[in-house]
Symmetry: C2
Subunit: 268 residues, 2 copies
Amino acid sequence: MHPFDTATLLESLPDGSFRGHTSPAYANMIGPFGGAVAACLLQAPMRHSARLGEPIALTVNFAAALADGEFRIHARVLRTNRSTQHWAMELSQGGEVAASATAVFAQRRETWSAPEAAPPANLPAADTLMRSPLIGRPAWTHRYDMRFARGGMPDAFDEQQQLDSVSQVWVRDEPPRALDFIALAALCDSFFPRIFVRRRKIAPIGTVSLTTYFHADAAMLQAQDGRHVLGAARALNFRNGYFDQSAEVWSDDWQLLASSHQIVYYRE
Amino acid sequence: MHPFDTATLLESLPDGSFRGHTSPAYANMIGPFGGAVAACLLQAPMRHSARLGEPIALTVNFAAALADGEFRIHARVLRTNRSTQHWAMELSQGGEVAASATAVFAQRRETWSAPEAAPPANLPAADTLMRSPLIGRPAWTHRYDMRFARGGMPDAFDEQQQLDSVSQVWVRDEPPRALDFIALAALCDSFFPRIFVRRRKIAPIGTVSLTTYFHADAAMLQAQDGRHVLGAARALNFRNGYFDQSAEVWSDDWQLLASSHQIVYYRE
C-alpha cells in the first residue's frame, strides 16, 4: 500500500462518521502535514455513499495542530442539487474540533472551454533538475519528489530578503502514485511557506485556511498518472501575522489541474 | 440608513440565530447579489457576542439561489484559540440550507510586513473615468459606482472572444459608505463574471464558492473611508462548466486590502 493511501485511510463507523489515524510518514514539525489533513477531509465525502459527482472546491480551516494518533471526521450533505452537492466536514480529536472543511461536488458537462493563465515558460525538464534535499526536513517532505526550477527551500537561512517568493517546481508523490483528487488536494499544500522563500529566515508559521479549486476531472488526473506535475506558487502580501499564497498545479501537457489559495499565520 | 446596512441588518433571535431579509436594492437577476449574501454571512459572527478579533478569511458556498424574503443564519464557534477563532455559518430558507460559510477571526499583532504583488500601474484616476452604465442592469449594480479602466461589462454581447478577462476598476458603494469588513466582503464579489468579459456572450452563471482573505485591519478600512478602492480581477481557466476568478482590492494609497477567489458555474 502506498504511504499516502495509509495516511488517508478512513474507517466507516456505525454512526456514519469516519475514523482516521495520523501517519508518521507524513509527519510535519508539529503534528501531521496539512496536505494530508486536507486529503483526509476530502476523502470523507469521496468515500461517503451519498456522494454525487467530482470535487470542484475544497476549503479546509485548520483550527488546531493535530496530535499524533486517531481522529474522527464527520461529513454531512448540506444540499444536493441537480448537478452540484454541498458538504460540510469536521475533524475532531478528543471531542474538540481540530479542522473544519467544506466541499462542493459537481457533475460536469462538456462546454466551451478555454485556458487563460499560462504555465511558467522555458522550464527545464524535471529530470534535468536536482531533487530538493531532505536532510533535516520533516518526514512529509520525503513523500514528495520536488525539483525546483526557482524558489526552492533556502539552503541557508541567511536572512537575505528576496524580491519575491515565487516558486516553480516539478513535484510528484514519492514513491510515484497515480494522481487522483485526494493526492492533488494534498499536493496543493506541498509548497514551502512563502515567507521562508522571501525572508530566508525561519519563523513559526501555520496554515489557517486553504481553498483548492479542481479544474481537472478524474480522466485528466488519470492521464497524468504518477509523473511530475508543475507547481507555481507566490504570495501577494505579508502583513501583521498573516500572509497569503496562491498556487497553480499544471499537468505535464500544460493543462491546469488545480488552483489553490491559502492564508498562513506567522510570528515575528 | 445606507441601503447596504438595510440589506445586511440581522435581528438576533432568542435561540442565538439571526433573522435577515433580502433587499430589493441588492437584487440580482435571480435572488439577491451574492456579495450581499456573503456580507450577511460575515455579519452574523461580527455581531455575535462570542466573537473575538477581526476577520482573516471568509469562505461562502452558495448552495441555492435565495428566494426574495426572509432567511435565517445560524453561526457557531467551532474553536477559540489564543489568537484565532473559527466559525461555521449556515443560511437557510424554509428549513433548507441555501448557503454555508466558514470564517476565521484573529487578533493581529504587529510583525515584519511587506507587500509582494503590486497594484495595476499607470491607472487613470477614478474621476477621469466614466461610471459604468446601469441601464438594463440588475439593482445591485446601481449600489456601486464602478469606473473601469479595463475589462468592463461589454457594451455589446457580440461574441467577439477576447484574449483575456482582466478587469481593472475603481469601485465604491453608491451612495458612498465608510468601508468596513462586511462592505469589503460584498465588494469582493462585485466584479462582473469573467466569462462575460472574455466571451462577450451572455450565458447562465452562478458563483458556487467564494473565498476572501482580509489583509487589512479595521484601521486601514476606516482610513479608506468612502473613497473608491481599486479592484483587479482575472480568470485562470474556463473548463466544462466551471471557471475561476481571482481578484485583489487595493486602497487608494496602494495597500492590499483583500484578495478574493471564486469558482463559478456556467452553462454552454
